[in-house]
Symmetry: C2
Subunit: 398 residues, 2 copies
């Protein structure tokens, strides 16, 4: 059997990251090395661009443009929140046939892997030769199979630096500060805040992740005890933090607010969660200075705060998707396996099935959460340190 | 009359900035050059450290430590929110006499200038020879007399970068995004967001500052018109944004929320403002994807995002305060005057009276606000560009 020859489509999907364009440029670079792929179409806004046949010709981009795109955060092709069903995927498949698309590279999270999976099944069922490869991407780091996901290291760098700065701020003007970090179901990003603690007494003093529930009573008790000990307290909590009944606090926040019917307000956002926790702590502990911030969207697209390792790995995963596609495999998701610790850290990629990645998401191992459920264990530092940019050394006067 | 000889105190006050420690190191360096000053005491947590006699010996710091401290954001000596009255200043003055303090350097905003002013008056009235110098600091850039304040350029760099990244994010997944920036009374920091707009169609599309009131109707109309034109809209608004009746929106937000009496909630924070604006726009314009973020404390102490010019000028102001103190002047606040434009930009310091700086704050000139009151004029770019770090070049695919 000869090698499959035809055109290719690459698309980006889901929430932007700092390095999703590294993966895109990796795909573009490797496509130019593989003779079996003729033209590479860039789908604008992921699958929605495919079904609308909104494509960009990526072959005209200069080396300089590619370098700029790679360094630019957020999806350069545009992204989409569409979650294609069978019907939607049939339309994708029709467009592929029309343009003789034989290679499909989709950069995204587990929903994107699922889209790729459905399209792949459709092709197999109708006997249309198509190769479908998923390139992992998520700041949440919750993809199955891979050791970690491109995008996580840069977002984790942002969180660690933000918390480091905020701890210095809280040290200068002592009080209670609560920071809300992204990650509705997975605590990886929140856990990275532990890197900001340099020595005993430094913040963050408390970290809460969605994988371990906590009651409001316990939360306030933890904060109060820390404040009594250090005269201040820096708390980092995931937006997905749950009460002991399993209900996320964001939901309880909304329920705790009587809403003006005329204005139809529903303050269930994370901004409201920050304010709610702040007011609750202030009221219960009777402490004057309590503040809360929600890091929000800055976590995923902040220009210039990129982890070099993350950028490199994202590029590598993009290249390897194309490389695998030129081999005997017809479909799969690129995963990373880790070898070595500390300075000897390195990754190698492997190919796993689309189904295994699209089927669910990963949570933070319980071994990374301390017994009290209010901090992250040292073993997590070993896991996360190689993935983030080196933190700045800081100093203050005592 | 011979030169006044004795010990010195340096302190930091008010909200931390990215470069307030540059000014501290500038003071320490220049003190070592001036023979008239014997020991330099670092007051921990500003005036509160003075009255409690909590001092740190700054002469023991190594060159390496000084370099680290200078690069560390947030007040290395600790800061304070105390606003000393006459009685409080008398206690400061007593401590000064006890330790033969003859030089007082206070790094802070206009409240700090006021503290310095009162202490200086007390010394004059009792015939105690004391030299009192204020070093400007504020991310709000609202100090009188000086062209701009150390601390502003770095915070403005953070805001411009954050908005640049957020615009790329909003471009990838189009919708309405509202970003709330610090600055209750002055719009300088919010106005810096205009740097993120590179060309027509890029965000931010709308900018609102406290110096120009806007009704909720007008706000929603602006947002709707932009969304109709571009299919998306990035709004940057100051936390101090006011309605046409002059009442800040944060206050209206609180009033619009019925509060659960049992929990005693008062969601008047800026997180609630972001959520409130988001829900209002969503409801009135019937647009699905509306998000809002509050940049919060990250704006003032983010490690590594420092404007080199700001760092240099902060150091320079610290040094010059000591330099002036060794001359004939007995008191004053260091100001910066700007010369030249673009590449020829440079500053020189001057000395102004403590009273003239402590007396009030500065607002954004109306000439920097467009006629519609929803964006910033090009002349502001000329003002702010030399003060911030160069923005990253970015690229995307159309």
């Amino acid at each position: 059997m000869g090698q499959l020859t035809g055109n290719a489509v690459v698309g980006q999907s889901g929430g932007p990251t700092g390095v999703i364009n590294q993966s895109l440029v990796g795909v573009i670079e490797e496509v130019s090395e593989q003779a079996c792929i003729k033209d590479l179409y860039g789908a604008l806004h992921g699958t929605s661009g495919i079904i609308q046949e909104r494509f960009s010709d990526l072959s005209t981009l200069s080396r300089h443009q590619l370098d700029l795109i790679a360094k630019t955060p957020s999806a350069a092709l545009g992204s989409t929140r569409d979650k294609p069903d069978q019907e939607y995927c049939s339309r994708i498949f029709e467009v592929f046939k029309k343009h003789d698309i034989r290679y499909f590279f989709y950069i995204g999270g587990n929903d994107s892997a699922n889209t790729a999976h459905i399209v792949n099944m459709l092709a197999q069922n109708t006997g249309y030769e198509l190769k479908v490869f998923h390139v992992p991407k998520t700041i949440d780091n919750d993809l199955l199979e891979t050791d970690h996901s491109p995008g996580y290291g840069s977002a984790a760098t942002f969180v660690a630096l933000a918390v480091l700065g905020d701890d210095l701020d809280n040290r200068a003007i002592p009080g209670i500060k609560i920071d809300i970090v992204m990650g509705r179901n997975a605590g990886f990003l929140t856990a990275a805040a532990m890197l900001a603690r340099r020595k005993e007494g430094d913040g963050p003093h408390l970290i809460y992740v969605p994988e371990r529930s906590v009651s409001m009573d316990q939360f306030c008790e933890d904060v109060g005890a820390t404040f009594d000990k250090y005269g201040r307290c820096l708390v980092v909590a995931s937006e997905g933090i749950c009460d002991v009944d399993g209900v996320p606090w964001t939901k309880k926040t909304a329920e705790n607010l009587d809403v003006d019917a005329h204005h139809n307000l529903q303050l269930s956002g994370t901004g409201a969660l920050a304010d709610f926790l702040s007011v609750t702590v202030k009221t219960r502990l009777e402490i004057g200075r309590v503040r809360a911030d929600t890091f929000g969207y800055l976590q995923r697209s902040f220009p210039g705060l990129i982890s070099p390792v993350d950028a490199q790995e994202a590029r590598y995963c993009g290249r390897m998707a194309v490389y695998y596609s030129a081999g005997p495999s017809t479909a799969g998701s690129v995963g990373m396996q880790r070898f070595g610790k500390g300075d000897r850290y390195r990754v190698e990629t492997f190919l796993t099935t689309l189904a295994s990645v699209s089927g669910g998401t990963k949570e933070l191992d319980q071994e990374y959460i301390n017994d009290a459920g209010n901090f992250i264990t040292p073993s997590f530092r070993d896991y996360v340190s190689p993935l983030v940019a080196p933190l700045l050394e800081v100093a203050y006067i005592e």
